[in-house]
């Protein structure tokens, strides 16, 4: 996030859908995407992109934690002692994550089982701590709210894109929350049934997530040359 943008938000009285607020929402989707440009939160992009369904639930969980964390930290920003600010951020993020975990266990037990440890790992998702430290501590709750949505969405669309690629080529299916896994290829296409097609098991393995993210970064940088660092 550029500093001029941040200070503009702080000084001017802005309307709900002002240019600044719109930029808070749209920047993280592309030019300052947390995964492809800032390279944060890569770990969860590897771990839970085998199925679209898991990626969707994970994105929703991150969205909730992100909004909660950003708004709460922003409200408390003038009260938090500097020396323990990282601990305060951690405590707030951890509590929100525990609440998400408990709610999932109570209302979505099947998905909670599938995500298992990864919900707990939201605590260590660098994007969340990064936004709290870089944005929420210096801005009002309103802009922080938009910043949270923007960054969570920037995270979500990469997760979704990667998981669609991995699930389609790795399992020949798409799974959506509440619908289960939908296999769309006719079974007689598969080699085991006398066809010519075989699922690519490499897609299921973690390295393929990195390679897919790499391809997205490649496309993004060839479209927007300003992202390329000078050597």
């Amino acid at each position: 996030m550029s500093s001029e943008n941040t200070s503009a938000v702080m000084t001017k009285k802005t309307s709900l859908f002002s240019k600044q607020n719109r930029r808070l929402l749209s920047d993280p989707l592309d030019d300052s995407n947390p995964i492809t440009v800032q390279v944060l939160g890569i770990c969860s992009a590897l771990a839970i992109t085998v199925q679209v369904q898991q990626a969707v639930i994970m994105s929703l969980a991150v969205l909730f934690v992100m909004i909660g964390g950003n708004v709460i930290i922003s409200l408390l920003r003038n009260m938090i002692p500097d020396r323990i600010r990282i601990i305060v951020q951690l405590v707030i993020v951890a509590s929100l994550v525990i609440i998400v975990d408990q709610v999932l266990k109570a209302f979505q037990p099947d998905i909670s089982e599938k995500l298992s440890v990864f919900v707990g790992l939201i605590i260590t998702n660098c994007i969340i701590m990064g936004r709290l430290e870089a944005f929420a501590l210096a801005n009002k709750p309103g802009p922080s709210f938009f910043d949270a949505i923007g960054n969570a969405m920037g995270y979500a669309w990469i997760l979704l894109a990667v998981s669609v690629v991995r699930e389609v080529f790795g399992s020949g299916a798409i799974s959506l929350p509440g619908m289960g896994q939908v296999k769309f290829l006719p079974t007689n296409w598969f080699i085991s049934e006398g066809g010519l097609y075989e699922n690519n098991n490499l897609m299921i393995l973690p390295p393929m997530a990195l390679i897919t993210v790499g391809i997205i970064i490649w496309v993004q940088r060839s479209r927007n040359q300003t992202l390329i660092e000078e050597n």
């Binding site: 405590v91 525990i98 609440i99 037990p109 298992s116």
Partner: protein, 264 residues
């Protein structure tokens, strides 16, 4: 009045207030959702037990099917004597109900250390379990007029706990098995929950003559009627399945043997 935000007193006061607020809200969330979570856990347990006898249930019909198939819930002690029996409708809140015995908790708290202490000595482990105050649950099911016993097993995989249910017919033939895990490696140890692995157990027998009741062999080995092929690349998880089956079934075998004797 200006407060010095960076004074030690303020920092302490802030932390104390924060801890109290966060603690209260988390405790409240946990308590208010506990009922639902416990009900979900009970449903899941019923689904697993039904899965072992080949009945696929979902969360909606688990308790109905469970009442239909499971005719008796028995608890036995470490030397195979029956302690309690229940056949009423399951009440997850009733601590006396064998259904409420938390085998995973027992394993973590007591059995795991006993296994370590015995260090591969089956005799010593058997004595340790027999002299403990542990209770072991057993589910007697009736399916197509055949009696099937479902035994819960718990053990350790490579990264964390693994567990499962073994369904046995009266002549100690394995009717079915289900396994699950918490954190085994996807594609390797995690495969124990998949059908291709659990299918292999069907129709196998327990070797009551010993020395091992059942074995999971290393990938590719020839198997007989008392063993199945393990998972390639999941050796430690397969060993864990082997260990938990032999340890737990040994306790239940004593119960089954005393049952057969009393029938004769």
């Amino acid at each position: 009045m200006a407060i010095n935000k960076n004074s030690t007193a303020y920092t302490f006061a802030f932390s104390i207030v924060m801890v109290i607020v966060v603690g209260t809200s988390l405790a409240y969330t946990s308590l208010s959702l506990k009922g639902r979570q416990d009900a979900n856990a009970a449903d899941k347990k019923m689904m697993d037990i039904l899965g072992a006898i080949g009945e696929l249930a979902d969360r909606g019909n688990a308790s109905v099917l469970f009442t239909e198939y499971v005719v008796e819930r028995i608890s036995i002690d470490g030397s195979g004597r029956q302690i309690a029996s229940a056949n009423s409708v399951v009440d997850p809140k009733d601590k006396e109900d064998p259904f409420s015995i938390e085998v995973k908790k027992d394993y973590r708290a007591k059995i795991k250390s006993a296994v370590k202490k015995a260090d591969g000595d089956a005799q010593a482990l058997e004595e340790a379990l027999a002299s403990s105050t542990l209770e072991f649950p057993l589910y007697r099911c009736l399916k197509n007029d055949t009696t099937i016993y479902v035994v819960p097993v718990v053990g350790s995989g490579l990264w964390g706990p693994i567990w499962g249910y073994i369904a046995l017919e009266e002549d100690m033939t394995v009717y079915g098995a289900t396994f699950d895990h918490k954190t085994e490696t996807p594609g390797l140890g995690a495969e124990i929950r998949e059908g291709f692995f659990t299918e292999k157990f069907k129709g196998k027998k327990l070797n009551t003559a010993g020395p091992l009741l059942f074995s999971i062999l290393k990938g590719g080995a020839l198997t007989d009627e008392y063993s199945v092929d393990g998972i390639t690349g999941g050796t430690i998880t397969s060993k864990g399945v082997d260990e938990m089956m032999n340890r737990t079934l040994a306790v239940y075998l004593r119960y089954f043997e005393s049952q057969i004797r009393s029938q004769k």
